[in-house]
């Protein structure tokens, strides 16, 4: 059996007649950032809730951190960190109080709580706001506190369910940086998102889920390459065009570029750009302008599902102004 920290085999969840997750398989390796990409209602959160023991699978099995999510749910909970959608944080408590509470819930010895809380508050940049009630925090601050809460027991596996939904670009970048840092320290991260840019920036591998099924899985570059090679466009002096074409043609099919520019579809992906530039330089070609046009994950999504990722065009990028207020949602009754 694989010793991967997150394994799911034919995981299914029905809510009455609604088949939210229709048999997904996952094998997420230690140290990976795994992106789970899909539109609202695709089954991302349901899958994560099963993997984090909050929902029982209708059928199928899953092991997280080496434990079965149903039979050994308590061991799973002790070894994972979970930051759920909407950052459910008590607004009447202060950041420091919530960290202290979380520490007790995870059985961290009283003597270690203050030190650990202090480290985490510093890590997420909330030391100055630690004694303020959460009701005074911005959306970004709440998400960072949520992340700190999920890390109180130093989990080896971290689940982040739409961690940047509703955040402004600066808060999003800060959170991405923290996810990278955690992963660099060895934490395996499973990240659900509906933002293409987020998985592109963070994920080593991704799975695209639509209508409860995984429709594509792989490394982002490979998935994008599967729908077509990226196109490298260069501008050079007209006298050097033939020499340039000779070099470029060794990397893939030549493609027309606008207004005399030369293009090539890079068979080996965008990572070949450095090699192309070096070969052009060796051939004495002076490159005046260079750009690369990648196929996007939305192209991959569209190719796999026949439709574009909902909201993909509207998702605020790191350069846009976004809404800092997390969306409000009431969760009530039984599922």
């Amino acid at each position: 059996m694989s010793n991967s920290p997150i394994i799911a085999e034919n995981l299914v969840r029905h809510f009455g007649d609604v088949h939210a997750v229709k048999g997904i398989n996952l094998d997420i390796k230690a140290g990976e950032v795994f992106g789970f990409l899909g539109p609202n209602g695709a089954g991302k959160s349901t899958a994560v809730r099963m993997l984090t023991t909050l929902l029982r699978p209708t059928s199928g099995t899953a092991r997280v951190a080496g434990y079965d999510v149903v039979a050994q749910a308590d061991q799973v909970r002790r070894n994972i960190g979970v930051a759920l959608q909407d950052a459910a944080i008590d607004p009447l408590m202060t950041g420091a109080e919530l960290l202290a509470l979380q520490a007790v819930l995870y059985g961290i010895p009283a003597a270690a709580v203050k030190k650990r809380s202090g480290e985490l508050l510093e890590r997420v940049g909330l030391t100055a706001a630690a004694s303020r009630r959460v009701s005074t925090y911005s959306g970004g601050m709440r998400r960072r506190l949520d992340l700190a809460l999920s890390l109180i027991h130093q989990p080896t596996v971290l689940f982040l369910d739409e961690p940047t939904t509703g955040l402004d670009p600066m808060s999003r970048l800060t959170l991405w940086e923290e996810v990278r840092r955690l992963n660099h320290e060895g934490t395996t991260v499973m990240l659900t998102t509906q933002y293409l840019e987020e998985v592109d920036q963070l994920a080593d591998r991704i799975a695209i889920i639509d209508h409860g099924k995984i429709v594509r899985e792989g490394k982002p570059a490979e998935l994008k390459a599967s729908v077509g090679a990226p196109t490298l466009i260069i501008n050079t002096h007209i006298d050097q065009a033939e020499k340039a074409k000779a070099v470029l043609s060794t990397f893939g099919d030549l493609r027309p570029g606008a207004e005399g520019a030369l293009g090539v579809g890079l068979r080996g992906g965008a990572s070949q750009v450095t090699e192309v530039v070096r070969k052009l330089d060796e051939a004495g070609v002076h490159v005046q302008h260079l750009e690369i046009n990648e196929p996007s994950l939305d192209d991959v999504f569209a190719e796999a599902t026949g439709h574009r990722l909902e909201g993909a065009d509207n998702a605020p990028s790191a350069g846009d102004n976004g809404d800092d207020e997390p969306k409000k949602k009431k969760r009530r009754g039984r599922k």
């Binding site: 023991t53 308590d74 819930l105 009530r332």
Partner: protein, 274 residues
């Protein structure tokens, strides 16, 4: 930084009842802090019963001479038990509504995703209600005492009343928590408020059963609130005795045991439903 190994070892050693107690106490602290940080919820549970108490005293003060009315120094002395019960009933709804809010906003899921004992989640929330019930009882006694609400059982009786108030809060809080766990809706919990109000008026909270007649008397006799009130009233009117104290404490304790059973079943049902 604390080593991962140390933390994991400490965490994995945490499966004892002492861990559950520590978790319950931490959650109790949270529910208490949360309650007292919302004066808009706390103050009405104290002010309105006191208002009704003074209003009743001026409106029904002369009814104490009616045949069947127990011998009292003032209507307030008779009314004290009803005031305590009224305040604790309403205060306990607030605590249960907070549990429903936790379910609505996802904090309940945060707790479920952690290795917290499931009963600690319920008991931690109820502990806040119990503390508030005890505090409300002490406030009602201290405020009404100078106006004639004598407690014949003296200081021991007041202590017994505070314990009784806490147990009533536990009983009602557990029942209302069942509603919260069943529906996951704070509106549904608050929707029980009129029902409690009706139950209160169809009890012996404001008049002794001896002065009632017909269906009203039968309903009041069957109404568990009458028995909660009368247990407390025995301490107010009869002086300190084992039987009065037992009545004031055992009746809410019995109801609390049944209510806790129902609430824990409801918690189990909610967890199974997931």
């Amino acid at each position: 930084m604390t080593s991962t190994a140390t933390l994991v070892n400490d965490v994995s050693a945490q499966r004892s009842s002492s861990a559950a107690i520590r978790q319950t106490l931490a959650l109790a602290k949270r529910s208490t802090l949360e309650l007292f940080r919302q004066p808009a919820l706390v103050v009405p549970s104290i002010v309105f019963p006191l208002f009704f108490s003074f209003l009743g005293n001026s409106s029904f003060g002369k009814t104490t001479s009616l045949p069947g009315f127990p011998k009292v120094n003032s209507y307030l002395q008779f009314q004290l038990a009803g005031t305590i019960t009224q305040g604790v009933l309403f205060g306990s709804v607030t605590g249960a509504a907070a549990l429903a809010t936790d379910i609505e906003n996802g904090f309940f899921d945060r707790l479920l995703a952690s290795p917290t004992s499931r009963l600690s989640i319920l008991f931690g929330r109820l502990a806040g209600s119990v503390l508030f019930g005890a505090l409300e009882t002490a406030v009602f006694v201290l405020v009404l005492l100078p106006f004639g609400a004598d407690v014949s059982a003296g200081v021991p009786g007041i202590i017994a009343m505070i314990i009784s108030g806490a147990l009533i809060a536990l009983a009602v809080g557990a029942l209302m928590s069942s509603v919260a766990l069943k529906t996951g809706s704070s509106e549904a919990v608050q929707g029980t408020f009129p029902l409690l109000f009706i139950l209160l008026f169809f009890s012996s909270a404001f008049f002794p059963r001896e002065t009632m007649s017909g269906v009203y008397k039968t309903v009041a006799g069957l109404n568990p609130i009458s028995h909660l009130v009368e247990g407390l009233r025995a301490l107010s009117l009869e002086g300190f005795s084992v039987s009065a104290t037992a009545r004031a404490i055992l009746v809410p304790m019995a109801i609390a045991i049944v209510a806790l059973y129902i609430a824990s079943r409801q918690l189990h049902a909610r967890l199974r439903a997931n």
